[in-house]
Amino acid sequence: MEDRDDIIEYSLYSHHSEEEGKKIRKKILFVTILLTIITTAEILMGVTLSKGKMEHTDAWMWIKLGYVILTLVKAGYIVIVFMHLGDERKAFKWCILAPYILFIVYLFVICRHEGLAVIWGGGYG
């Protein structure tokens, strides 16, 4: 769009060289290995500390928390590194993350509250 002066093609100015590319690829490899390790750990947990076996033990709450934390770590690396949100401006990062985190936390809290109310209230109707 070189004939227009009001639309700026930001990507024309965000190329990088081969040496910078090498560093970036190394970082990508590191995150890939990390994600693979975390996924393998989750699978091993799923097979050995399976729900069927552990659901009614005291440890189950901690196992569930472990899964959620590992999943959030994976999600964080995918969003910050693979989707390059970490390379964007701070204002933009928070424009995306803040509303979503706020809404999801609210959704979780309200559904847990209402669900428990249904269960403790003796079911529906």
Partner: protein, 253 residues
């Protein structure tokens, strides 16, 4: 960096005050910003689906099937040899690797390396096709039920549908020879959540193929940047991200 991409510097200073006008305060193009906003909305859709799943599922604690007992099949392995969650692990790995190849395609685009983009984007398409095919196989196996016979949809079979499935513990009143003895919601949520996600993967593969063809045709070389790869890359990573959550909440918890 290739030499034939001469572009005049923009008429305004891109590193000027962010809110001073004339430039994007976020220093991103309209297309990329809108793709992010779309992903937030789509993430809310999946957030809603997964929360609904959690809400319904906890009403059935005890009767709810344990997924590591349901998903024990592996292609070409006799179904009497249980391989719990192994094929799901393979699918997760395929999707993560396809995300990695997509990031590498974006990185190649930042160096205007057309052949690199074609190579890595091609691998991403392949990974996506393997995932969609795997999901189709999972659905077939799931529908076939514990007797592993897909073609018996009669009342004496144990095929899983939106209404009945045979995976859970018997419900009160349905203990004897009645296939309606498992929480209906288990199969319902399986089909809805993995179906929505699988449809996103499929549409992502279609978009990736279209853009791959455009890359080969030289559209982005002419344009001077491979931002389109970044944009479809964002969508593809989102698809991977959703799967990470679906995998945890449906298969593990």
């Amino acid at each position: 960096m290739s030499d034939h991409h001469h572009h005049a510097a923009p008429a305004v200073d891109l590193n000027g005050p962010a809110w001073g006008g004339k430039i994007s305060p976020f220093k991103v193009s309209y297309g990329k910003l809108m793709m992010w906003f779309f992903l937030v909305s789509d993430a809310l859709t999946f957030g809603g689906l997964l929360t609904a799943y959690g809400f319904a599922r906890h009403a059935y604690t005890g009767a709810w099937p344990s997924s590591e007992k349901v998903f024990t099949h592996f292609p070409f392995v006799d179904h009497h040899t249980p391989m719990p969650l192994i094929y799901v692990a393979f699918m997760t790995f395929v999707l993560i690797v396809s995300s990695v190849t997509m990031v590498l395609a974006v990185e190649a685009g930042h160096r205007m390396d057309k052949r690199g983009v074609i190579f890595w984007l091609g691998l991403t398409v392949l990974g996506g096709l393997i995932f969609v095919g795997s999901q189709a196989w999972e659905w077939t196996t799931f529908i076939a039920g514990p007797d592993s016979n897909f073609w018996n949809f009669g009342p004496d079979g144990d095929n899983a549908t939106l209404w009945y499935n045979s995976y859970g513990a018997p419900q009160p009143g349905h203990e004897h020879g009645d296939i309606a003895h498992s929480p209906q919601h288990y199969a319902m949520f399986f089909f809805f959540i993995t179906g929505f996600h699988g449809f996103h993967v499929f549409s992502g593969v279609v978009i990736n193929i279209i853009i791959l063809i455009q890359v080969i045709q030289g559209v982005f070389e002419k344009r001077g940047h491979y931002e389109m790869i970044e944009k479809i890359g964002l969508y593809w990573h989102f698809v991977d991200l959703v799967w990470v959550f679906v995998f945890t909440f449906f298969y593990l918890l």
